[in-house]
Subunit: 186 residues, 2 copies
DNA sequence: CCACTGGGTCAACGCCCGTAGAATGAACGG
DNA sequence: CCGTTCATTCTACGGGCGTTGACCCAGTGG
């Protein structure tokens, strides 16, 4: 195998292992040695490629931004539900790594805020109300609360439920938050 | 000062410092030395009194159970809102210590589950629906999600909002979750 | 007043971690 | 074919941690 390919493969194996272990144990409890062992390489190699544990975490927890399409409050709420349904269907390991670490690691907390900010802004703009920012924050808190308890804490009823069931139960809540009283149809 | 009083005072100072630091940094990042320093004593004394870091955490994070009165689904939902309002008004340090650590510490996760279980059961029993357990879990997830983002992540809009404002926005959501369709007045 | 209990301190041990740097050997380019 | 690059490993250092046990000294009870 060529050297370039070898390197790409090793980096990929390290990143995959890092994502899994960071998501399982959080930043503090994952050790570079453990990641290296899971990837089948030596710890020094991880250093050599990624520079430090912080940088490895940064690379392992890069999250593809899940943009919400603009539109009316109802449409944006529905888009947020769809996005949630997707994240409840296939487990997003990289964002779980951030979620698992955000309460005990400042970097992870920043990354969490940064990842949620565009969604938050889009929600805020779509909600026609003076307390739009608080409503948007509550929506975001609900989404992340559900994901955290399902995947990280594995509370049985949330872990066992189907994505559709959860999304259906949350739909009226999202509509209620997205639609202030003075805008609701009577 | 008598020796018994001296000891009680020292234990109390240690526990208070431990609660604050555990809530701030989480289990892993708080060191016994830091707790001892904050309490103005030596690290060895903490060991002497509490036996181990785990036991100290257990003692520091004892949570007074916040029982929900029974009743109809609506009443229980309102009681849950009241309880939330109380927790949004005066910061519950001990339960923040658990919350901060639950994603990275198995003990904290267990304590979190144990603390939420009675509320969860009471909610489940009050909700007249086959998916009552999922609805109750969602309610619990929302409560904890809001508290976590307000106190631990300090997302500005949630941290700045008044408890009343938050409770008022959540009331319709709680009613929606507590009242399944076939029970709703038309 | 004296023997003793017990609150409190201090220094040290053993462990694990992130990180650094030298060493090795196989792919590479001319 | 040979010098060089580079993927990879190995060994070690320095620091922080939980935990331990010896030690000191002020209350305490008789």
């Amino acid at each position: 195998m060529t050297r370039a390919a070898q390197r790409r493969q090793s980096e990929e194996r390290i990143l995959t292992a890092a994502r899994r272990i960071f998501a399982e144990l959080g930043y503090d409890r994952t050790t570079i040695r453990a990641v290296a062992a899971a990837a089948g390489v030596d710890g020094g190699l991880v250093m050599h490629y990624f520079g430090s544990k912080d940088l490895l975490f940064a690379r392992a927890s890069e999250i593809p931004a899940d943009e919400l399409p603009g539109g009316t409050a109802d449409e944006v709420a529905e888009a947020l539900l769809t996005s949630l349904g997707r994240r409840l269907t296939d487990e997003p390991t990289a964002s779980l790594a951030v979620l698992r670490s955000m309460l005990t690691n400042a970097d992870a907390a920043d990354r969490y805020r940064a990842a949620g900010e565009p969604q938050l802004n889009q929600l805020t703009e779509a909600i026609p109300s003076s307390d739009a920012d608080l409503r948007a924050s509550l929506l975001s808190a609900i989404v992340h609360g559900v994901i955290a308890e399902r995947y990280l804490l594995r509370l049985t009823h949330l872990a066992d439920a189907s994505p559709e069931q959860i999304v259906d139960l949350l739909r009226p809540l999202f509509q209620s938050l997205a639609t202030p009283p003075e805008q609701q149809p009577r």
